[in-house]
Symmetry: C2
Subunit: 423 residues, 2 copies
């Protein structure tokens, strides 16, 4: 016989309607006409979203604080002086992104805390939630910058000095929206960290499963390539004297695709950003900056991909006679999650009777850095068509309910609810 939080185990379930209403209300802040979300980090819309979350967190009786990186903490006390169990995710989106990436995890964490309140569940460990700053890396690079600082992997100074395209520093943007907090952004004692997120890939949908038990995150490497050619007039400049930065960049884009083909397996390669200067029809491009994103479960594959990238850039730059600078500026190693936490998530899914599988995450998440601080795990819910980072992003409410309940049960278990189910 398994323990039970209340007289009837089925009673410890999240409130599906309340969760849906919260998703709707938060999703309207920065919501797009096509049903997506455009709420880039540290903008006015991000502030409005944060303000609403803080209000809800206070209404749920949480003790709210903000750290030096603008991460928002909300804590529900435990019955003993023990390290808290945290749940969390991020509230920023990519430009023209979707309503599920990030904010779904934040709202499922909030819904878990609300449900613990409803059921008057006392836990030995405090239970809390974290809303992370600038997870996407769309405005300030690198991505996951705030959990990176918390884990001691990115110096606070470097994060503060990260600049957006308009030259605005992250620290100034934080201050402007009123979320430059005073609590140190450093590792603190934590019993565990749990993050629910959409899969952002096609596997769960393809296999007809509502839930993914995430065992870890693939290794990620980001590079920045700058090409300096000779800016000139597109008309009277003969082909023989041209040094066109975009022609070299185009060869690199093709080469980056080719690296994935040559290495094969699970390696993915993407040039997501490419900026041309002066970017007008009748000038030969004098300068191009582009980003390269490689991911693979095997560190060795990433090493090989980066070496091949160096060679691709060398060849393209030589052929066109342009100057190239390559900066391999960010790398996150493959991150295995804590076996105990993974087991507890899996047991929660089993107890709920919902189909699930173990899987790796191909996307980076704040959980990747949190794993350096405390035992960490993640729960995935399916993405329709595997789509994410776009307005078409969608996850059905039934799947969300399964995921949120798994988060609730795993959290209660980790926090030591006196009568917590040991599913």
């Amino acid at each position: 016989m398994t323990g039970d939080v209340t007289a009837d185990r089925r009673a410890l379930r999240i409130d599906r309607l309340r969760l849906a209403e919260s998703m709707d209300a938060l999703g309207r802040i920065g919501g797009t006409a096509r049903g997506g979300l455009h709420r880039v980090a540290l903008t006015d819309d991000d502030r409005r979203g944060r303000d609403l979350l803080v209000r809800w967190m206070r209404e749920a009786g949480l003790q709210v604080s903000v750290d030096q990186m603008g991460n928002i903490f909300g804590i529900r006390p435990g019955t003993e002086a023990r390290p808290p169990v945290f749940m969390g995710s991020h509230a920023d989106s990519v430009p023209s992104g979707g309503r599920y990436d990030g904010q779904l995890g934040v709202l499922c964490a909030l819904e878990t805390l609300r449900t613990l309140n409803d059921h008057r569940v006392a836990t030995r460990h405090p239970v809390g939630m974290i809303v992370f700053t600038n997870e996407e890396g769309a405005r300030f690079q690198p991505a996951m910058i705030a959990s990176g600082v918390m884990a001691g992997k990115i110096p606070l100074e470097d994060a503060y000095n990260a600049r957006d395209r308009d030259g605005i520093r992250l620290v100034d943007a934080l201050e402007r929206i009123g979320y430059l907090g005073s609590e140190p952004c450093v590792p603190r004692p934590m019993r565990a960290y749990l993050e629910l997120h959409i899969e952002q890939g096609p596997i769960l949908e393809e296999e007809g499963l509502p839930l993914g038990v995430v065992e870890g995150i693939v290794a990620i490497a980001w590079s920045r390539i700058t090409l300096h050619g000779t800016q000139d007039h597109a008309g009277p400049t003969p082909m023989r004297v041209r040094h066109d930065a975009l022609v070299a960049a185009a060869e690199i884009v093709g080469g980056v695709r080719g690296i994935a083909r040559r290495i094969g397996g699970e390696l993915v390669s993407t040039v997501g950003r490419l900026d041309v200067s002066p970017n007008i029809p009748n000038a030969i491009p004098g300068k191009v900056e582009l980003s390269v994103d490689f991911r693979d479960p095997e560190e060795g594959h990433l090493d090989r991909a980066l070496e091949m990238l160096d060679e691709v850039v060398r060849v393209a730059a030589r052929r066109e006679g342009v100057q190239a600078h390559v900066d391999h500026y960010w790398r996150v190693p493959r991150t295995p999650f804590d076996p105990e936490v993974v087991g507890i998530v899996e047991a929660a899914a089993t107890a709920l009777g919902c189909g699930h599988r173990r899987m790796l995450s191909g996307a980076g998440h704040d959980a990747q850095y949190m794993a350096a601080i405390c035992p960490t795990g993640m729960i995935f819910v399916p993405s329709r068509g595997g789509r994410s980072h776009c307005e078409e992003e969608f996850t059905g409410l039934d799947d969300i309910e399964h995921g949120a309940n798994a988060l609730l049960l795993a959290c209660a278990r980790l926090a030591g609810a006196p009568t917590a189910p040991s599913p």
Copy 2:
């Protein structure tokens, strides 16, 4: 024996120092730290530049007016009721462009009028200058839009509705800076149009000649290509399901370069503008827009290039599984200049004793549309290193002086100065 304007022919020469000072004063408006010029059409700096020119034109006794496209006219009366001889060029620059492209021709026209005043030269035809709006096409496409309207090649309505990247209409931008004039922008009787401009290519410098007698302008075709792929997350999206708009665009950039290689001869091909959406490191590009610019003295070569472009786009789009739309939205045919005007420019260069050659222009100029209105010609001065549309653009003052004097003599001849030299 040749006639002479004043007792001493050598006296009818421009004032080199005054011209240099005007170049310096106008070049400071929108001047960049690296010695270039950033004065994009219908910006506040463009307005300040126009205001200074209008002041100088009034101080030179010209009758100033502005037409519906913001073109500025300044006219010095003649002794008879005849159609005026016009000189002119444009005052807008490309972003991070140079101080010679456009404004040099405007200031040499002004200097010619000032010199006619100094020498009290009476001309049978009135002599005027025109400052054209948005020649570059950097902000509003197509380029040469205002002379295109004047020549009846572009409907006024279309020009007014051209939008910049922020969605601002040209007509609203004109009104905002106070240069939405009331004079009809239509062909008016003109004896001739003369434009002095930098060559923007390497030929005069390579051949050590200070002056180019321009016989005509090559044919130009501009296309816009829009690619719609599937925007998605750069991590969990396997390579096998990707439809990356930038991968297809890169193949097109390479293909556009290849078209110039395959056709050879004097064809030049350029992708100068490329915009990626959403343009962040961790999203697969869902949309790319790019520009293609082809130029060649032979219309047939352009026809072939455009056919090959359609095929390049078809193949690239099919390979990546993206939707492509090609819009061949602008074409200007090869424009031969008027033989009489070309001969008069050549004779002026000979009379000045400065080395020169006949040549075609590889760049488009307002003169290309003006040739449909009246007998037209152009004078080129050398570009150091052939560089243009960049901050490094430079022409030495000696060369400028030769060019300006040729403009002065040719203008006086066309305007029928009573004692004009027939050089």
